[in-house]
Symmetry: D2
Subunit: 460 residues, 4 copies
């Protein structure tokens, strides 16, 4: 499937390069704009498919600068006409008639949106448009006025990748190598170290599920990796050990969601994760009725960065000040552990290098992490995006694991800490409501106690 798809994309790209070679660059660029206009003018005839294919293949053959030019073209020449919009607005304001509303909607919708719809008719058009948006997002940082183009693409893709069109697919060792290879490439939470590592992650005591879209066969859009274990893991070591013994899945009581990955830059901002987690939860309960606990083992991507900023006094708002206070509170313990003046220095040492002294850090780390996980930024968004995701989904902040991941990467990002978020089917709705309505974070009993102690300390 995907073989064919990728081959098609390549074939299109090849042809595109040939064309660009044949004509001069400038000529080709002019002409691409012209092709877009012709495509837009058409009335849905089949020849539009050939046009769409030609335009997409040209795009694929372009280098970064040419693509930027193309995006500028879309931003500049394929936007809506202000005067038309105003006329339509005025008319609708007078009549409030359905037909006039329809006309207004047409006037407001930038023509490039219809252009994208028509480009989608090309073979593998959807694949190409998702890739095109990926490229656009890369260039957006340097050229924010392209935002207008992104608004339209995102609107369209959001409609096309509606949950109703996605398919849940189980991935295992019997899946096509082509798909499995993508997992290796896409996994960014816990890198997959080659095929043996992957194989262990697909054994009978592991599960992997992905959403796919019919127009992108063989391409996992998002995937989650689950370990079936006995008791909640507080460390990734055993979960990721390729030589760990394989458990009989029927005897597991806990499902650990230890990695969730979005794979398509071009679908950024179009959220699938909440649907995926809950549907996988449903699947697992149906398959393995003995499972009683559903928990993540999640990273804290900005923990160390925030702590360092707080300790350095680079505080931008109240909440970070709070973090700095906590660090100060635990300053003695932190300094004792590191034997240095800088309270954060000890945290930065590798877990392995800390030795017995490391244990001293567990309590301070836990307290600081608990505070960090509830911080919000100036716009009110959760500072930690992973916490924001799971708490909004209705999970409970269950446990903070101080020394969960000894990898250099995790040590750097979060002093080796990881978090368990727990999904209790009976609580999920209420937690979600409370979090969305009033920002209240659901805490496990031990964490609630810790929180109360911390406030007590703070108040005292």
């Amino acid at each position: 499937m995907t073989g064919w798809l990728e081959q098609m994309v390549e074939v299109i790209a090849d042809r595109g390069r040939e064309l660009l070679g044949r004509r001069g660059d400038a000529g080709a660029q002019t002409s691409t704009a012209q092709l877009c206009r012709t495509l837009l003018k058409g009335q849905g005839e089949a020849s539009g498919i050939a046009l769409a294919r030609e335009i997409l293949s040209r795009f694929q053959a372009m280098d970064a600068d040419q693509r930027l030019e193309f995006f500028r073209l879309l931003a500049r020449d394929f936007g809506p006409d202000l005067a038309t919009m105003q006329t339509a607005m005025a008319r609708y304001a007078k009549t409030e008639a359905a037909a006039d509303l329809a006309r207004l909607a047409v006037a407001v919708e930038p023509p490039r949106q219809e252009l994208f719809r028509r480009l989608n008719m090309a073979p593998c058009g959807t694949v190409a448009l998702v890739a095109l948006r990926g490229e656009l997002l890369r260039q957006l940082k340097a050229e924010p006025e392209l935002k207008a183009v992104d608004v339209d693409l995102r609107h369209l893709l959001s409609s096309w990748f509606n949950r109703g069109f996605l398919r849940l697919q189980r991935i295992d060792w019997n899946s096509p190598a082509q798909t499995l290879e993508k997992l290796i490439n896409y996994e960014s939470v816990h890198a997959i170290h080659g095929w043996d590592d992957l194989r262990r992650r697909l054994m009978p005591d592991r599960r992997c599920f992905a959403f796919t879209h019919p127009a992108m066969p063989g391409e996992p859009l998002i995937f989650v990796e689950v370990a079936l274990v006995q008791g909640v893991s507080d460390s990734v070591g055993e979960l990721l050990d390729p030589d760990s013994p394989v458990l009989d899945a029927a005897r597991a009581d806990t499902a650990v969601f230890y990695s969730i990955n979005n794979t398509q830059l071009g679908l950024r901002g179009i959220s699938f994760g909440n649907f995926l987690i809950k549907q996988v939860l449903t699947e697992l309960r149906a398959e393995l009725p003995e499972l009683a606990t559903f928990v993540t083992l999640s990273p804290m991507p900005r923990f160390a960065e925030s702590v360092r900023a707080a300790a350095a006094g680079q505080l931008q708002d109240l909440s970070r000040a709070q973090l700095a206070g906590l660090i100060e509170d635990h300053g003695d313990a932190l300094r004792a552990a590191s034997g240095e003046d800088d309270p954060v220095a000890g945290l930065l040492r590798p877990l392995a290098a800390r030795g017995g002294a490391g244990e001293v850090l567990r309590a301070p780390l836990g307290s600081i992490a608990l505070a960090y996980l509830q911080l919000r930024d100036e716009r009110g968004h959760m500072l930690d995006p992973v916490a924001g995701f799971h708490l909004a989904n209705g999970a409970r902040l269950e446990r903070i694991n101080a020394f969960a991941d000894p990898s250099a990467e995790r040590q750097h990002a979060s002093f080796g800490c990881m978090v368990n978020y727990l999904y209790d089917p009976d609580e999920v709705e209420a937690n979600h409501e409370a979090f969305v309505a009033s920002g209240r974070v659901a805490l496990s009993k031990p964490l609630a106690r810790l929180q109360r102690q911390a406030s007590g300390t703070a108040e005292a």
Copy 2:
């Protein structure tokens, strides 16, 4: 597949009926509005799926009056807010900023459009929404203000049923009975008289292709039936005879597209036919290189109706006057054939009953039909929708078959006449351009000659 799908739909409907039973009707109706609001307020959480399912199942359980109420609700309460739109318009007019354009687009888009997107998340949501639009179209005639709702549904479905998402599928005797049964039910050009008739239409010298959509598995959205023959057929008799001998497909030189059917009322106005014909043409040329001629055998659905109106002097515009003129010109021949005063009377007699005298009618019928097929209505649309479709697709008006179909139905609709439109791959683009740009109709040489004679006569 579809079995599961239809079962789901039914299960949903059943549940809906239970719910409606449990509560009072009025209460339920109120509450459905409330559910819609809750669904709209949500932020993409998985529980939205359950809400969507509930709303759709309620809709399916409603009777026609309740559905009308629901449509009115959508029209009244889920439209855009005029003041918000105006504010957004004013702001964008000032800044012309991307973000403000995005806000304006949001303000202009009626909330029911997002509601439909969220309803689509339910299992079989797309199937349900297509059915819902079908129902809406039925009620639209009596209540035109529902048009606003239809504009939104059509916009969405048009995007979701983009050509890029459709799949061409060959249907043959090895297809699921469930799908084949739908052909029997949906065929409206030449009714399929049971399974034996269907079986003949799927034999090795016949082809049947359909477009399907991934969210409506097993459901042909549009299908075309093709007969592989030697020489262009001028009558449906042999094509449809269930006992006709089966030709070796490799020896056919002509493909006759003798029936095209759209199957979903809920997709009316979203055109697939042009794509289908051209892709099938491509498929057939690849499979059977001996095929040299691609021609339709098409009905003339409003021929008799128009002739009668013209003859009765109920003329609304110039073009029909022209038809009346032609009838007058051929009046003697027509009266001679019928032996009556009314020139149309002879045409109305069954083919079988005309006997040898019928032959006299061939020439006048041909001339009048040729004129009719090129008439346009007051809005400039082709009077004959089938002619409009094929000519806009780039086909050529090839031949008029005066006595092609002796069935009572066809006799009533077009005096038994049918038309061949010919698709010449080398001409299609040029024909299409000429027709769209200047309304020029491509004619075969004999028809062009006939046309010249007719104008000569007219001028003389």
Copy 3:
């Protein structure tokens, strides 16, 4: 799948006919023998496939007489050599060595068996060989010396159609029309009257399962039709009524196996039925745990024939005498019902024509049927093959339904009677053992009582 298969068979046949046409008949026949010898002499080279195809295509092009000649050729020229066998026998008797046993086995195996194995290499070879055996069985009656050929074919097919190679397949309304059409053609217990009748038999309260073989895709070798109902049916009327209401399968407590059909004459004597029934039973229990009773509604194919023979005094052995005795015992009742001298006359009247008087026949019919169902022929085989099949499978003789099927066919074959055999998973093994070991027939309590009464009567 099957389309391809059947097309292949036809293509092969066509080529065969061409070849036969080209050469003279006699020449072709000689030459087919020669081809067979060449095929046998080969050492497994790929060219054998072409030879095999050629031979099979010739066979398919032959008429009945030519086929008979071919069978005679196989019987005469491809048997084992007596002298070689005797030498090998003598040698093995002396050495009892493995190698000598292997040589003896080779000497005893007729060369035609290896010929059949090599013919199987042709595309669709297995399909062709099963058809060839079907033809052989048809000709066997007239020419019993062909039995030797059949022994070899049956031995081979029995090995190739080993239970381990068969696949259970559920057939429903979503199955290919091509497969469904075969059900219509093959069903011989209760004829399927067209597609509407078939459709009812595949609705959610019905099940149909078949065994297929990988080398005969799309071809059901044996299939069973099951009705899911509430309570044990004693009449086929409701079961077969195409307009009967559809029950929610989850609410059924009883599965009635109302039709089992072997479809391939060429596989006669190779038994699948016992495996099919028990696997279907397992499937149904897994899918629908509410099912408590598994029962057949079976015909009694030789009942009327046997009764007539017994009444006419054409008795060949003891058991039939016993039947005659029973008829005599019930003679008064039977004569009273018919009002004629012949006690059987009343039974032969259509159910409908019997009116109220028919009821009188119920008891005598039951007693006679109970005796009949336990009769054995001179070789010790059960007289009623259906009873023999189910009782050997471990079923219990549950109930005799005197007026179960009013069809003319059933009236003729069994006075309209049908039988329920009941499969009780807990009893099946014991019943089977007792039946095989000592011929004991498992009876339901009411039938056991009836049996005791009858013996009491007999003894008295």
Copy 4:
């Protein structure tokens, strides 16, 4: 598929181990024999499946000694009865009747053959029986009297794995990882060094085809690897280089079959290779009409061993003497190259170590290899099994590549030499006939010339 299959096998094995644990070993062994007898006595009832599963699961749980005991049991207790055979023989000799021949066949067939057929009914029975024969073959060397058991297993498997039941399957990067992993494990001609190496072998300028059997899904029984190249390769280096550039397959003129592997020890002696090569050849010609040359790049597994034996004077027959003569003839050149007294010493040096001096060896190596490739052993079999295979298939000995493979393994086995056998579709049949009938080996023109020179030398 296979996942399920292997899981099943494991589940069966687990259960078997449990059973063996429960009972004493001896008791279990006795009892397994008893179970086999019970299974054999049955009359095809469904309960046989449970018995078969039990026996196979016990076998899988046995250690090597227990398995040997089981094989002895089969050899001793499940062979045919001599007296019965003799009686049947005598009777058939008298009557020559079909029924008596059938009885004789039954008497001669060892009961274990029917036992194997019944064991095949278990889930994954075929997989288990192939594994069982693999184990038997391992033990056969030490205990030749088990040969009798193998004769029966081989006879059965040969019938079940008839070419007509095999399926050609293309394997590529879209195949299940589970299947691909098997390629890595099974490849023994040119070891696959991990997934990247495999991936290169499945790129668009490579092909891999396998035969599979429906009862062993996902399991390649034999597979061939093909490189599409320009010009005939004389060295494996480029073919196997994972970093070599990928050729556009449409531009290749030559297909090099560089590796063929049988994967199942348990199917030894049941030949698929000839069918596979020729069917792949057909597939490739259909897909890529530009391909003009089909050639292998094959190992010479016993070359070095034979040369050493010949040089050491360990000659057992005429043909090896001939080899010794050739070595003697080239003795001076060989000694010159090595600078040692032993003429073979130079050949044994690694290719890399030979330096320029190595080139001197090319001609002598070629002559000796040409002679070697045509040697036969005392039973008339080709000494080199690979040569025997391809020449019997109708290939031509095309070219001897003196320094084709520098790997230590190949250096050890054949002084680094490899051979091209060429399959010319127009010659294959004639070559095959000549080779089988008269032992004549087809040689390319250069090799024929070399052969004539060598004979000239020899004669002179």
